[in-house]
Protein backbone atom coordinates (compact mmCIF):
# COMPACT_ATOMS: atom_id res chain seq x y z
CA UNK A 1 0.00 0.00 0.00
CA UNK A 2 3.01 2.16 -0.57
CA UNK A 3 2.21 5.68 -1.65
CA UNK A 4 -1.38 5.63 -0.37
CA UNK A 5 -2.52 8.14 2.25
CA UNK A 6 -5.35 7.36 4.61
CA UNK A 7 -7.81 10.27 4.50
CA UNK A 8 -10.57 8.92 6.71
CA UNK A 9 -11.88 5.68 8.13
CA UNK A 10 -12.95 4.46 4.67
CA UNK A 11 -11.08 6.72 2.30
CA UNK A 12 -7.59 6.58 0.82
CA UNK A 13 -5.81 9.05 -1.39
CA UNK A 14 -3.39 8.23 -4.15
CA UNK A 15 -1.45 11.49 -4.41
CA UNK A 16 -0.58 13.18 -7.69
CA UNK A 17 2.92 11.97 -8.41
CA UNK A 18 2.18 8.32 -7.65
CA UNK A 19 2.82 7.94 -11.32
CA UNK A 20 3.95 10.58 -13.83
CA UNK A 21 1.22 12.48 -15.65
CA UNK A 22 -1.48 12.31 -12.99
CA UNK A 23 -3.66 15.41 -13.23
CA UNK A 24 -5.70 14.72 -10.10
CA UNK A 25 -5.29 12.42 -7.10
CA UNK A 26 -6.84 8.98 -6.87
CA UNK A 27 -9.46 8.28 -4.21
CA UNK A 28 -10.30 4.76 -3.10
CA UNK A 29 -13.11 3.88 -0.70
CA UNK A 30 -12.00 0.93 1.41
CA UNK A 31 -11.25 -0.22 4.93
CA UNK A 32 -7.82 -1.65 5.82
CA UNK A 33 -8.68 -5.18 4.75
CA UNK A 34 -10.25 -4.25 1.40
CA UNK A 35 -7.37 -1.88 0.73
CA UNK A 36 -4.89 -4.70 1.28
CA UNK A 37 -6.83 -6.88 -1.15
CA UNK A 38 -6.93 -4.05 -3.72
CA UNK A 39 -3.18 -3.63 -3.40
CA UNK A 40 -2.53 -7.28 -4.29
CA UNK A 41 -3.09 -6.81 -8.01
CA UNK A 42 -2.73 -3.96 -10.51
CA UNK A 43 -5.95 -2.11 -9.66
CA UNK A 44 -4.31 0.82 -7.85
CA UNK A 45 -2.00 1.42 -10.81
CA UNK A 46 -5.15 1.56 -12.96
CA UNK A 47 -6.68 4.22 -10.66
CA UNK A 48 -3.49 6.25 -11.24
CA UNK A 49 -3.66 5.65 -15.01
CA UNK A 50 -7.20 7.04 -15.17
CA UNK A 51 -6.00 10.13 -13.26
CA UNK A 52 -3.77 11.02 -16.24
CA UNK A 53 -6.69 11.44 -18.65
CA UNK A 54 -7.44 15.01 -19.83
CA UNK A 55 -10.26 16.99 -18.25
CA UNK A 56 -10.72 14.64 -15.31
CA UNK A 57 -12.55 16.39 -12.49
CA UNK A 58 -11.57 16.24 -8.80
CA UNK A 59 -10.16 12.70 -8.64
CA UNK A 60 -10.00 9.22 -10.14
CA UNK A 61 -12.32 7.21 -7.92
CA UNK A 62 -12.57 3.55 -6.98
CA UNK A 63 -15.33 1.85 -5.05
CA UNK A 64 -14.59 -0.76 -2.31
CA UNK A 65 -15.14 -3.67 -4.73
CA UNK A 66 -12.17 -2.44 -6.78
CA UNK A 67 -10.06 -5.01 -8.61
CA UNK A 68 -7.82 -5.30 -11.62
CA UNK A 69 -9.67 -4.82 -14.89
CA UNK A 70 -8.47 -3.55 -18.27
CA UNK A 71 -8.24 0.20 -18.89
CA UNK A 72 -10.19 1.47 -15.86
CA UNK A 73 -10.09 -0.71 -12.76
CA UNK A 74 -13.31 -2.58 -12.04
CA UNK A 75 -15.06 -0.32 -9.53
CA UNK A 76 -13.62 2.76 -11.24
CA UNK A 77 -15.49 6.06 -11.57
CA UNK A 78 -14.24 9.18 -13.34
CA UNK A 79 -15.99 12.36 -14.45
CA UNK A 80 -14.76 14.60 -17.26
CA UNK A 81 -15.58 18.21 -18.05
CA UNK A 82 -17.38 18.78 -21.32
CA UNK A 83 -14.79 21.40 -22.19
CA UNK A 84 -11.33 19.76 -22.39
CA UNK A 85 -12.62 16.36 -21.22
CA UNK A 86 -12.78 13.00 -22.95
CA UNK A 87 -14.79 9.83 -23.35
CA UNK A 88 -13.04 6.46 -23.37
CA UNK A 89 -14.52 3.05 -24.22
CA UNK A 90 -11.98 1.69 -21.70
CA UNK A 91 -14.03 3.43 -19.00
CA UNK A 92 -17.16 1.51 -19.94
CA UNK A 93 -15.84 -1.86 -21.07
CA UNK A 94 -16.90 -4.47 -23.60
CA UNK A 95 -20.09 -5.44 -21.78
CA UNK A 96 -21.70 -2.03 -22.20
CA UNK A 97 -24.58 -1.47 -19.77
CA UNK A 98 -24.06 -4.74 -17.99
CA UNK A 99 -26.41 -4.34 -15.06
CA UNK A 100 -28.82 -5.78 -12.57
CA UNK A 101 -32.51 -5.68 -11.91
CA UNK A 102 -34.49 -6.88 -8.96
CA UNK A 103 -37.93 -8.42 -9.38
CA UNK A 104 -40.18 -8.57 -6.30
CA UNK A 105 -42.94 -11.07 -5.58
CA UNK A 106 -45.70 -11.22 -2.98
CA UNK A 107 -44.65 -14.80 -2.18
CA UNK A 108 -42.89 -16.00 0.96
CA UNK A 109 -40.04 -18.49 1.12
CA UNK A 110 -42.48 -21.21 2.26
CA UNK A 111 -44.75 -20.53 -0.73
CA UNK A 112 -41.84 -20.88 -3.12
CA UNK A 113 -39.73 -23.62 -1.47
CA UNK A 114 -42.28 -26.36 -2.03
CA UNK A 115 -41.89 -26.11 -5.77
CA UNK A 116 -38.51 -24.42 -6.05
CA UNK A 117 -37.00 -27.29 -8.10
CA UNK A 118 -39.76 -26.86 -10.64
CA UNK A 119 -39.27 -23.10 -10.75
CA UNK A 120 -35.55 -23.51 -11.47
CA UNK A 121 -36.35 -26.13 -14.10
CA UNK A 122 -38.87 -23.83 -15.80
CA UNK A 123 -36.51 -20.83 -15.74
CA UNK A 124 -33.69 -22.98 -17.07
CA UNK A 125 -35.92 -24.25 -19.87
CA UNK A 126 -37.04 -20.78 -20.89
CA UNK A 127 -33.86 -18.74 -20.53
CA UNK A 128 -31.25 -19.28 -23.25
CA UNK A 129 -27.73 -19.25 -21.77
CA UNK A 130 -24.14 -19.53 -22.86
CA UNK A 131 -22.15 -19.06 -26.04
CA UNK A 132 -23.80 -19.72 -29.38
CA UNK A 133 -27.30 -20.22 -27.96
CA UNK A 134 -29.86 -18.15 -29.83
CA UNK A 135 -32.60 -16.18 -28.12
CA UNK A 136 -36.28 -16.88 -28.53
CA UNK A 137 -37.08 -13.45 -29.98
CA UNK A 138 -36.30 -13.04 -33.66
CA UNK A 139 -34.72 -9.65 -34.28
CA UNK A 140 -34.34 -8.68 -37.94
CA UNK A 141 -32.46 -5.45 -38.63
CA UNK A 142 -35.48 -3.12 -38.49
CA UNK A 143 -36.46 -4.48 -35.09
CA UNK A 144 -32.89 -4.27 -33.81
CA UNK A 145 -32.86 -0.59 -34.76
CA UNK A 146 -36.01 -0.09 -32.70
CA UNK A 147 -34.42 -1.88 -29.73
CA UNK A 148 -31.28 0.24 -30.03
CA UNK A 149 -33.34 3.42 -29.69
CA UNK A 150 -36.33 2.16 -27.70
CA UNK A 151 -34.73 -0.15 -25.10
CA UNK A 152 -37.14 -1.75 -22.64
CA UNK A 153 -40.06 0.34 -23.96
CA UNK A 154 -39.78 -1.37 -27.34
CA UNK A 155 -39.54 -4.89 -25.94
CA UNK A 156 -42.57 -4.20 -23.71
CA UNK A 157 -44.45 -3.00 -26.80
CA UNK A 158 -43.71 -6.44 -28.25
CA UNK A 159 -45.47 -8.02 -25.29
CA UNK A 160 -42.56 -8.81 -22.98
CA UNK A 161 -43.64 -6.95 -19.88
CA UNK A 162 -46.08 -4.30 -18.74
CA UNK A 163 -46.05 -0.55 -19.21
CA UNK A 164 -45.67 -0.08 -15.46
CA UNK A 165 -42.22 -1.75 -15.62
CA UNK A 166 -40.86 1.34 -17.38
CA UNK A 167 -41.43 3.45 -14.28
CA UNK A 168 -39.06 1.11 -12.42
CA UNK A 169 -36.08 1.24 -14.78
CA UNK A 170 -33.24 3.74 -14.86
CA UNK A 171 -34.31 6.66 -17.11
CA UNK A 172 -37.67 5.04 -17.85
CA UNK A 173 -36.15 2.09 -19.71
CA UNK A 174 -34.79 4.17 -22.59
CA UNK A 175 -31.35 5.79 -22.55
CA UNK A 176 -31.68 8.92 -24.69
CA UNK A 177 -29.40 9.78 -27.59
CA UNK A 178 -28.94 6.40 -29.28
CA UNK A 179 -28.25 6.41 -33.01
CA UNK A 180 -28.21 3.07 -34.87
CA UNK A 181 -26.45 4.78 -37.81
CA UNK A 182 -23.34 4.84 -35.62
CA UNK A 183 -23.02 1.08 -35.22
CA UNK A 184 -21.40 -1.25 -37.74
CA UNK A 185 -23.00 -4.04 -39.74
CA UNK A 186 -21.13 -6.43 -37.43
CA UNK A 187 -23.06 -5.09 -34.44
CA UNK A 188 -26.31 -5.96 -36.18
CA UNK A 189 -24.97 -9.44 -36.97
CA UNK A 190 -23.90 -10.08 -33.39
CA UNK A 191 -27.04 -8.61 -31.87
CA UNK A 192 -29.34 -10.72 -33.97
CA UNK A 193 -31.46 -13.10 -31.92
CA UNK A 194 -29.60 -12.42 -28.67
CA UNK A 195 -32.28 -10.41 -26.87
CA UNK A 196 -33.47 -12.38 -23.85
CA UNK A 197 -30.28 -14.43 -23.48
CA UNK A 198 -28.36 -14.56 -20.23
CA UNK A 199 -24.81 -15.03 -21.45
CA UNK A 200 -22.10 -16.59 -19.33
CA UNK A 201 -19.35 -15.59 -16.87
CA UNK A 202 -20.70 -13.78 -13.83
CA UNK A 203 -24.22 -13.38 -15.28
CA UNK A 204 -27.04 -15.12 -13.48
CA UNK A 205 -30.68 -15.31 -12.49
CA UNK A 206 -31.03 -15.83 -8.74
CA UNK A 207 -34.07 -16.52 -6.57
CA UNK A 208 -33.61 -14.90 -3.16
CA UNK A 209 -35.35 -14.29 0.15
CA UNK A 210 -35.27 -10.94 1.92
CA UNK A 211 -33.39 -11.90 5.06
CA UNK A 212 -33.18 -8.54 6.75
CA UNK A 213 -34.57 -5.05 6.37
CA UNK A 214 -32.34 -2.23 7.60
CA UNK A 215 -34.48 0.80 6.73
CA UNK A 216 -38.16 -0.16 7.23
CA UNK A 217 -39.60 3.13 5.95
CA UNK A 218 -37.63 2.96 2.72
CA UNK A 219 -38.23 -0.80 2.34
CA UNK A 220 -41.95 -0.10 2.58
CA UNK A 221 -41.78 2.38 -0.28
CA UNK A 222 -39.68 -0.10 -2.27
CA UNK A 223 -42.25 -2.83 -1.49
CA UNK A 224 -39.74 -5.05 0.31
CA UNK A 225 -40.40 -7.07 3.47
CA UNK A 226 -38.60 -9.79 5.42
CA UNK A 227 -39.30 -13.32 4.18
CA UNK A 228 -40.29 -12.07 0.72
CA UNK A 229 -39.04 -13.88 -2.38
CA UNK A 230 -37.19 -11.76 -4.96
CA UNK A 231 -35.43 -12.57 -8.22
CA UNK A 232 -32.23 -10.85 -9.29
CA UNK A 233 -31.16 -10.76 -12.94
CA UNK A 234 -27.59 -9.88 -13.96
CA UNK A 235 -26.83 -9.59 -17.67
CA UNK A 236 -25.64 -7.11 -20.27
CA UNK A 237 -25.64 -6.15 -23.93
CA UNK A 238 -24.17 -9.44 -25.21
CA UNK A 239 -22.43 -9.33 -28.61
CA UNK A 240 -23.77 -5.83 -29.34
CA UNK A 241 -21.72 -4.20 -26.60
CA UNK A 242 -18.66 -6.35 -27.29
CA UNK A 243 -18.62 -5.36 -30.96
CA UNK A 244 -19.32 -1.64 -30.34
CA UNK A 245 -16.46 -1.48 -27.85
CA UNK A 246 -14.12 -3.35 -30.24
CA UNK A 247 -15.07 -1.07 -33.17
CA UNK A 248 -14.70 2.16 -31.19
CA UNK A 249 -11.42 1.16 -29.54
CA UNK A 250 -10.10 1.14 -33.12
CA UNK A 251 -11.58 4.61 -33.75
CA UNK A 252 -10.30 6.05 -30.44
CA UNK A 253 -6.88 4.51 -31.00
CA UNK A 254 -6.53 6.48 -34.22
CA UNK A 255 -7.81 9.69 -32.57
CA UNK A 256 -5.37 9.26 -29.68
CA UNK A 257 -2.48 8.85 -32.12
CA UNK A 258 -3.62 11.84 -34.19
CA UNK A 259 -3.76 14.20 -31.21
CA UNK A 260 -0.57 12.80 -29.68
CA UNK A 261 -2.23 11.52 -26.51
CA UNK A 262 0.19 9.90 -24.08
CA UNK A 263 -1.66 6.80 -22.92
CA UNK A 264 -0.54 4.77 -19.92
CA UNK A 265 -2.62 1.87 -21.29
CA UNK A 266 -3.80 1.59 -24.90
CA UNK A 267 -7.16 0.36 -23.61
CA UNK A 268 -7.66 3.94 -22.33
CA UNK A 269 -7.67 5.39 -25.87
CA UNK A 270 -10.11 8.29 -25.99
CA UNK A 271 -11.67 11.07 -28.01
CA UNK A 272 -12.08 14.63 -26.70
CA UNK A 273 -15.71 15.42 -25.86
CA UNK A 274 -17.35 17.52 -28.54
CA UNK A 275 -15.52 15.78 -31.40
CA UNK A 276 -17.36 13.69 -33.97
CA UNK A 277 -15.67 10.51 -32.72
CA UNK A 278 -16.77 11.15 -29.12
CA UNK A 279 -20.34 11.90 -30.23
CA UNK A 280 -20.39 8.80 -32.44
CA UNK A 281 -19.20 6.59 -29.59
CA UNK A 282 -21.76 8.01 -27.15
CA UNK A 283 -24.55 7.43 -29.68
CA UNK A 284 -23.37 3.88 -30.42
CA UNK A 285 -22.77 3.06 -26.74
CA UNK A 286 -26.32 4.20 -25.97
CA UNK A 287 -27.61 1.70 -28.56
CA UNK A 288 -25.92 -1.05 -26.51
CA UNK A 289 -27.29 0.39 -23.26
CA UNK A 290 -30.80 0.17 -24.67
CA UNK A 291 -30.16 -3.33 -26.01
CA UNK A 292 -28.99 -4.42 -22.54
CA UNK A 293 -32.05 -3.08 -20.78
CA UNK A 294 -34.26 -4.70 -23.46
CA UNK A 295 -32.37 -7.94 -22.82
CA UNK A 296 -33.02 -7.82 -19.06
CA UNK A 297 -36.66 -6.97 -19.74
CA UNK A 298 -37.07 -10.07 -21.94
CA UNK A 299 -35.32 -12.19 -19.29
CA UNK A 300 -37.80 -10.82 -16.74
CA UNK A 301 -40.61 -12.00 -19.00
CA UNK A 302 -39.30 -15.61 -18.92
CA UNK A 303 -38.99 -15.36 -15.13
CA UNK A 304 -42.61 -14.18 -14.88
CA UNK A 305 -43.78 -16.97 -17.17
CA UNK A 306 -41.94 -19.50 -14.99
CA UNK A 307 -43.64 -18.19 -11.82
CA UNK A 308 -47.06 -18.35 -13.47
CA UNK A 309 -46.44 -21.86 -14.71
CA UNK A 310 -45.24 -23.19 -11.34
CA UNK A 311 -47.31 -21.25 -8.82
CA UNK A 312 -50.46 -20.67 -10.87
CA UNK A 313 -52.45 -17.52 -11.40
CA UNK A 314 -50.95 -14.52 -13.09
CA UNK A 315 -47.99 -12.33 -12.32
CA UNK A 316 -50.22 -9.60 -10.95
CA UNK A 317 -51.64 -11.95 -8.34
CA UNK A 318 -48.17 -13.28 -7.59
CA UNK A 319 -46.92 -9.71 -7.30
CA UNK A 320 -44.02 -10.29 -9.70
CA UNK A 321 -43.10 -6.63 -10.15
CA UNK A 322 -39.94 -4.79 -10.89
CA UNK A 323 -38.14 -2.92 -8.11
CA UNK A 324 -35.46 -1.35 -10.30
CA UNK A 325 -33.01 -1.90 -13.15
CA UNK A 326 -29.63 -0.21 -13.18
CA UNK A 327 -26.54 -0.41 -15.42
CA UNK A 328 -23.10 -0.57 -13.84
CA UNK A 329 -20.91 -0.24 -16.99
CA UNK A 330 -21.81 3.03 -18.66
CA UNK A 331 -20.81 6.61 -19.48
CA UNK A 332 -23.45 9.32 -19.17
CA UNK A 333 -23.69 13.09 -19.26
CA UNK A 334 -24.88 14.11 -15.80
CA UNK A 335 -25.18 17.32 -13.84
CA UNK A 336 -22.95 17.61 -10.79
CA UNK A 337 -21.95 20.42 -8.45
CA UNK A 338 -18.19 21.00 -8.44
CA UNK A 339 -16.65 23.79 -6.36
CA UNK A 340 -20.03 25.49 -6.08
CA UNK A 341 -20.77 25.36 -9.81
CA UNK A 342 -23.32 23.14 -11.58
CA UNK A 343 -21.56 21.41 -14.46
CA UNK A 344 -22.44 18.86 -17.12
CA UNK A 345 -19.92 16.05 -16.77
CA UNK A 346 -19.29 12.84 -18.66
CA UNK A 347 -19.34 10.30 -15.82
CA UNK A 348 -17.79 6.90 -16.57
CA UNK A 349 -18.81 4.02 -14.30
CA UNK A 350 -16.93 0.80 -14.90
CA UNK A 351 -18.28 -1.63 -12.36
CA UNK A 352 -19.97 1.07 -10.28
CA UNK A 353 -23.62 1.95 -9.73
CA UNK A 354 -25.38 5.29 -9.81
CA UNK A 355 -26.43 6.18 -6.25
CA UNK A 356 -28.65 9.24 -6.58
CA UNK A 357 -30.39 10.79 -3.54
CA UNK A 358 -34.00 11.82 -3.02
CA UNK A 359 -35.06 14.54 -5.41
CA UNK A 360 -32.52 13.72 -8.13
CA UNK A 361 -34.09 14.32 -11.56
CA UNK A 362 -32.99 10.95 -12.98
CA UNK A 363 -34.87 8.72 -10.56
CA UNK A 364 -38.42 7.39 -10.96
CA UNK A 365 -41.19 9.46 -9.39
CA UNK A 366 -42.15 6.55 -7.12
CA UNK A 367 -38.76 6.80 -5.41
CA UNK A 368 -38.26 10.55 -5.71
CA UNK A 369 -38.95 11.12 -2.02
CA UNK A 370 -36.42 8.56 -0.74
CA UNK A 371 -33.71 8.08 -3.35
CA UNK A 372 -32.69 5.66 -6.06
CA UNK A 373 -32.60 1.92 -5.34
CA UNK A 374 -29.09 0.53 -5.81
CA UNK A 375 -28.97 -3.20 -6.51
CA UNK A 376 -25.84 -5.02 -5.41
CA UNK A 377 -25.37 -8.66 -6.36
CA UNK A 378 -23.16 -10.69 -4.04
CA UNK A 379 -21.67 -14.08 -4.73
CA UNK A 380 -23.95 -17.09 -5.09
CA UNK A 381 -23.36 -18.40 -1.57
CA UNK A 382 -23.51 -15.24 0.55
CA UNK A 383 -26.10 -12.52 0.01
CA UNK A 384 -27.08 -9.54 -2.11
CA UNK A 385 -28.35 -6.08 -1.18
CA UNK A 386 -30.71 -3.29 -2.02
CA UNK A 387 -29.11 0.01 -1.07
CA UNK A 388 -30.31 3.57 -1.50
CA UNK A 389 -28.56 6.55 -3.04
CA UNK A 390 -27.39 9.42 -0.86
CA UNK A 391 -26.40 13.08 -0.87
CA UNK A 392 -23.00 11.85 0.30
CA UNK A 393 -22.53 10.08 -3.02
CA UNK A 394 -23.21 13.34 -4.87
CA UNK A 395 -20.53 15.07 -2.77
CA UNK A 396 -17.97 12.27 -2.69
CA UNK A 397 -18.27 10.04 -5.76
CA UNK A 398 -20.23 11.77 -8.54
CA UNK A 399 -23.34 9.95 -7.33
CA UNK A 400 -21.77 6.48 -7.40
CA UNK A 401 -21.33 3.45 -5.18
CA UNK A 402 -20.13 -0.16 -5.52
CA UNK A 403 -21.56 -2.70 -7.99
CA UNK A 404 -20.97 -6.04 -6.28
CA UNK A 405 -18.56 -7.99 -4.14
CA UNK A 406 -15.59 -7.72 -6.49
CA UNK A 407 -13.36 -10.63 -7.38
CA UNK A 408 -10.42 -11.54 -5.23
CA UNK A 409 -9.28 -14.79 -6.87
CA UNK A 410 -8.44 -15.26 -10.55
CA UNK A 411 -10.62 -17.55 -12.62
CA UNK A 412 -7.75 -19.92 -13.35
CA UNK A 413 -6.85 -20.21 -9.64
CA UNK A 414 -10.51 -20.77 -8.74
CA UNK A 415 -10.74 -23.58 -11.27
CA UNK A 416 -7.56 -25.16 -9.89
CA UNK A 417 -8.59 -25.00 -6.24
CA UNK A 418 -12.37 -25.48 -6.31
CA UNK A 419 -14.36 -28.33 -7.83
CA UNK A 420 -17.64 -27.24 -9.38
CA UNK A 421 -19.52 -30.41 -8.45
CA UNK A 422 -18.38 -30.22 -4.82
CA UNK A 423 -19.37 -26.57 -4.65
CA UNK A 424 -22.80 -27.41 -6.04
CA UNK A 425 -23.26 -30.06 -3.32
CA UNK A 426 -22.04 -27.68 -0.63
CA UNK A 427 -24.43 -24.94 -1.71
CA UNK A 428 -27.29 -27.42 -1.94
CA UNK A 429 -26.56 -28.57 1.62
CA UNK A 430 -27.01 -24.90 2.57
CA UNK A 431 -30.40 -24.83 0.84
CA UNK A 432 -29.26 -23.17 -2.37
CA UNK A 433 -30.21 -24.94 -5.61
CA UNK A 434 -27.63 -24.38 -8.33
CA UNK A 435 -28.15 -25.02 -12.02
CA UNK A 436 -25.37 -24.51 -14.52
CA UNK A 437 -24.35 -26.19 -17.73
CA UNK A 438 -20.69 -26.00 -16.76
CA UNK A 439 -19.24 -27.17 -13.43
CA UNK A 440 -16.01 -25.28 -14.22
CA UNK A 441 -17.98 -22.03 -14.43
CA UNK A 442 -19.41 -22.70 -10.98
CA UNK A 443 -15.87 -23.06 -9.64
CA UNK A 444 -14.85 -19.74 -11.23
CA UNK A 445 -17.84 -18.06 -9.62
CA UNK A 446 -17.45 -19.71 -6.20
CA UNK A 447 -18.07 -17.55 -3.11
CA UNK A 448 -14.39 -17.77 -2.14
CA UNK A 449 -13.43 -16.15 -5.49
CA UNK A 450 -15.15 -12.96 -4.30
CA UNK A 451 -14.62 -10.43 -1.55
CA UNK A 452 -17.12 -10.36 1.29
CA UNK A 453 -20.00 -8.31 -0.10
CA UNK A 454 -21.13 -7.51 3.46
CA UNK A 455 -17.85 -5.72 4.11
CA UNK A 456 -18.06 -3.93 0.75
CA UNK A 457 -21.55 -2.50 1.40
CA UNK A 458 -20.64 -1.63 4.99
CA UNK A 459 -17.74 0.45 3.68
CA UNK A 460 -20.08 2.17 1.19
CA UNK A 461 -22.43 2.99 4.07
CA UNK A 462 -19.57 4.09 6.31
CA UNK A 463 -18.22 6.31 3.55
CA UNK A 464 -21.71 7.79 3.10
CA UNK A 465 -22.07 6.89 -0.59
CA UNK A 466 -25.13 4.61 -0.11
CA UNK A 467 -27.20 3.13 2.72
CA UNK A 468 -28.37 -0.43 3.29
CA UNK A 469 -32.10 -0.99 2.82
CA UNK A 470 -32.37 -4.78 2.66
CA UNK A 471 -30.28 -7.92 2.43
CA UNK A 472 -31.33 -10.98 0.46
CA UNK A 473 -29.92 -14.51 0.69
CA UNK A 474 -29.91 -16.81 -2.33
CA UNK A 475 -32.09 -19.93 -2.52
CA UNK A 476 -31.61 -20.85 -6.19
CA UNK A 477 -29.09 -19.80 -8.82
CA UNK A 478 -29.18 -20.21 -12.58
CA UNK A 479 -25.85 -19.70 -14.35
CA UNK A 480 -24.75 -19.77 -18.00
Amino acid sequence: MEGLRKKGKYKWELPVGYRPGMRVPGCIFADEELMELAAEDRAIEQVANVATLPGIVKCSLAMPDIHWGYGFPIGGVAAFQQKDGIVSPGGVGFDISCGVRLVKTSLSENDVRVRLDELVFEMNRRIPKGLGIKGRIKTPEQLLKKLFTGGAREVIRMGYGIEQDLERIELGGVYPGANPEKVSARVFERGKDQVGTLGSGNHFVEVQVVERVFLPDVAKIFGLFEGQVTVMIHSGSRGVGHQICTDYLGVMDKVSKRIGAELPDRQLAYAPLGTKEADDYMEAMTCAANYAVANRQALTHWVRESFERVYGGNVRALGVDLLFDVSHNIARIERHRVDGKELNLCVHRKGATASFPAGHPDIPSAYAGVGQPVIIPGDMGTCSYVLIGTEGAMRESFGSTCHGAGRVMSRSKAKKTIRGEELKRRLESEGIIVMSGKPSLLAEEAPEAYKDVRRVVDVCEGAGISKKVAMMRPIAVLKG
Binding site: D41, Y70, F94, G201, R411
Partner: protein, 136 residues
Protein backbone atom coordinates in the same frame (compact mmCIF):
# COMPACT_ATOMS: atom_id res chain seq x y z
CA UNK B 1 5.52 -21.99 -30.22
CA UNK B 2 4.31 -22.21 -26.62
CA UNK B 3 1.53 -20.63 -24.65
CA UNK B 4 0.40 -20.52 -21.04
CA UNK B 5 -2.43 -18.82 -19.19
CA UNK B 6 -1.57 -15.95 -16.86
CA UNK B 7 -3.39 -14.86 -13.73
CA UNK B 8 -5.75 -11.91 -13.87
CA UNK B 9 -8.24 -11.19 -11.08
CA UNK B 10 -11.36 -10.62 -13.19
CA UNK B 11 -10.46 -12.03 -16.55
CA UNK B 12 -7.99 -14.38 -18.25
CA UNK B 13 -4.69 -13.76 -19.95
CA UNK B 14 -2.29 -15.76 -22.08
CA UNK B 15 1.40 -15.45 -22.76
CA UNK B 16 2.65 -16.78 -26.06
CA UNK B 17 6.24 -17.22 -27.20
CA UNK B 18 7.32 -18.23 -30.70
CA UNK B 19 10.30 -18.25 -33.04
CA UNK B 20 8.62 -16.17 -35.72
CA UNK B 21 5.88 -13.56 -35.93
CA UNK B 22 3.67 -15.88 -37.96
CA UNK B 23 4.00 -18.55 -35.28
CA UNK B 24 3.27 -15.97 -32.57
CA UNK B 25 -0.02 -14.95 -34.19
CA UNK B 26 -0.91 -18.58 -34.81
CA UNK B 27 -0.08 -19.39 -31.18
CA UNK B 28 -2.19 -16.52 -29.85
CA UNK B 29 -5.18 -17.73 -31.88
CA UNK B 30 -4.72 -21.31 -30.68
CA UNK B 31 -4.32 -20.13 -27.07
CA UNK B 32 -7.56 -18.13 -27.27
CA UNK B 33 -9.58 -20.86 -28.96
CA UNK B 34 -8.30 -23.42 -26.44
CA UNK B 35 -9.66 -21.23 -23.63
CA UNK B 36 -13.09 -21.39 -25.29
CA UNK B 37 -13.25 -25.11 -26.16
CA UNK B 38 -10.95 -28.15 -26.35
CA UNK B 39 -9.08 -27.87 -29.64
CA UNK B 40 -9.38 -31.64 -30.06
CA UNK B 41 -13.15 -31.33 -30.32
CA UNK B 42 -12.99 -29.11 -33.42
CA UNK B 43 -13.16 -30.89 -36.77
CA UNK B 44 -11.67 -29.56 -40.00
CA UNK B 45 -14.70 -29.24 -42.24
CA UNK B 46 -14.64 -25.60 -43.32
CA UNK B 47 -11.89 -23.45 -44.74
CA UNK B 48 -11.82 -19.66 -44.55
CA UNK B 49 -9.27 -17.05 -45.52
CA UNK B 50 -8.91 -13.65 -43.95
CA UNK B 51 -6.49 -10.76 -44.31
CA UNK B 52 -6.15 -7.77 -42.03
CA UNK B 53 -4.00 -4.67 -42.08
CA UNK B 54 -2.98 -2.55 -39.11
CA UNK B 55 -0.68 0.34 -38.23
CA UNK B 56 1.44 -1.69 -35.82
CA UNK B 57 1.85 -5.23 -34.53
CA UNK B 58 -0.13 -4.66 -31.32
CA UNK B 59 -3.08 -3.36 -33.30
CA UNK B 60 -2.74 -6.29 -35.69
CA UNK B 61 -2.88 -8.75 -32.78
CA UNK B 62 -5.95 -6.96 -31.33
CA UNK B 63 -7.70 -7.07 -34.71
CA UNK B 64 -6.69 -10.67 -35.42
CA UNK B 65 -8.01 -12.13 -32.18
CA UNK B 66 -11.19 -10.07 -32.25
CA UNK B 67 -11.78 -11.12 -35.87
CA UNK B 68 -11.74 -14.77 -34.78
CA UNK B 69 -14.19 -13.94 -31.96
CA UNK B 70 -16.43 -12.11 -34.42
CA UNK B 71 -16.47 -15.16 -36.73
CA UNK B 72 -17.49 -17.30 -33.76
CA UNK B 73 -20.11 -14.92 -32.40
CA UNK B 74 -21.69 -13.73 -35.67
CA UNK B 75 -21.00 -16.54 -38.12
CA UNK B 76 -20.93 -19.46 -35.69
CA UNK B 77 -17.53 -20.68 -36.94
CA UNK B 78 -14.73 -22.08 -34.80
CA UNK B 79 -11.25 -22.85 -36.07
CA UNK B 80 -8.43 -25.12 -34.96
CA UNK B 81 -5.77 -24.57 -37.64
CA UNK B 82 -4.30 -21.24 -38.67
CA UNK B 83 -1.85 -21.03 -41.54
CA UNK B 84 -0.50 -17.53 -41.00
CA UNK B 85 1.74 -15.26 -43.00
CA UNK B 86 2.72 -11.75 -41.91
CA UNK B 87 4.43 -8.88 -43.61
CA UNK B 88 4.42 -5.14 -42.93
CA UNK B 89 1.67 -5.27 -40.29
CA UNK B 90 -0.57 -7.30 -42.60
CA UNK B 91 -1.76 -10.75 -41.73
CA UNK B 92 -3.29 -13.28 -44.07
CA UNK B 93 -4.43 -16.60 -42.79
CA UNK B 94 -6.06 -19.73 -44.06
CA UNK B 95 -8.14 -21.19 -41.24
CA UNK B 96 -9.63 -24.64 -40.90
CA UNK B 97 -12.50 -25.48 -38.57
CA UNK B 98 -16.21 -26.07 -38.52
CA UNK B 99 -19.64 -24.78 -37.54
CA UNK B 100 -19.76 -24.19 -33.78
CA UNK B 101 -22.18 -26.50 -31.96
CA UNK B 102 -22.53 -25.71 -28.23
CA UNK B 103 -23.74 -29.21 -27.32
CA UNK B 104 -20.77 -30.93 -28.97
CA UNK B 105 -17.99 -28.42 -28.44
CA UNK B 106 -18.71 -27.95 -24.71
CA UNK B 107 -17.77 -24.34 -24.05
CA UNK B 108 -15.21 -23.85 -21.29
CA UNK B 109 -15.23 -20.06 -21.28
CA UNK B 110 -17.10 -17.38 -23.20
CA UNK B 111 -14.61 -14.72 -24.24
CA UNK B 112 -16.15 -11.34 -24.92
CA UNK B 113 -13.08 -9.72 -26.47
CA UNK B 114 -9.31 -9.45 -26.62
CA UNK B 115 -8.29 -6.21 -24.89
CA UNK B 116 -5.46 -3.73 -25.46
CA UNK B 117 -4.61 -3.83 -21.74
CA UNK B 118 -0.93 -4.81 -21.41
CA UNK B 119 -0.94 -5.99 -25.00
CA UNK B 120 2.56 -5.87 -26.41
CA UNK B 121 4.13 -7.88 -29.24
CA UNK B 122 7.79 -7.92 -28.27
CA UNK B 123 11.10 -9.31 -29.40
CA UNK B 124 12.39 -11.83 -26.91
CA UNK B 125 15.84 -13.37 -27.33
CA UNK B 126 15.78 -14.78 -30.83
CA UNK B 127 12.01 -14.93 -31.05
CA UNK B 128 8.77 -13.14 -30.16
CA UNK B 129 6.47 -12.87 -27.18
CA UNK B 130 3.01 -11.43 -26.48
CA UNK B 131 0.68 -11.19 -23.50
CA UNK B 132 -3.03 -10.75 -24.11
CA UNK B 133 -5.75 -10.15 -21.52
CA UNK B 134 -9.23 -11.28 -22.54
CA UNK B 135 -12.50 -9.97 -21.19
CA UNK B 136 -14.61 -12.93 -20.04
Amino acid sequence: MEFRTIEHTADIGVEVTADSLGELFRGAALAMVSLIVDLGKIEGKIEREISLKADDLDELMFMWLNEILYLLSAKGLIFKEFDVSISDCCISSKMIGEKFTPERHKVKEEIKAATYHELGVERRNEGWMVRVIFDV
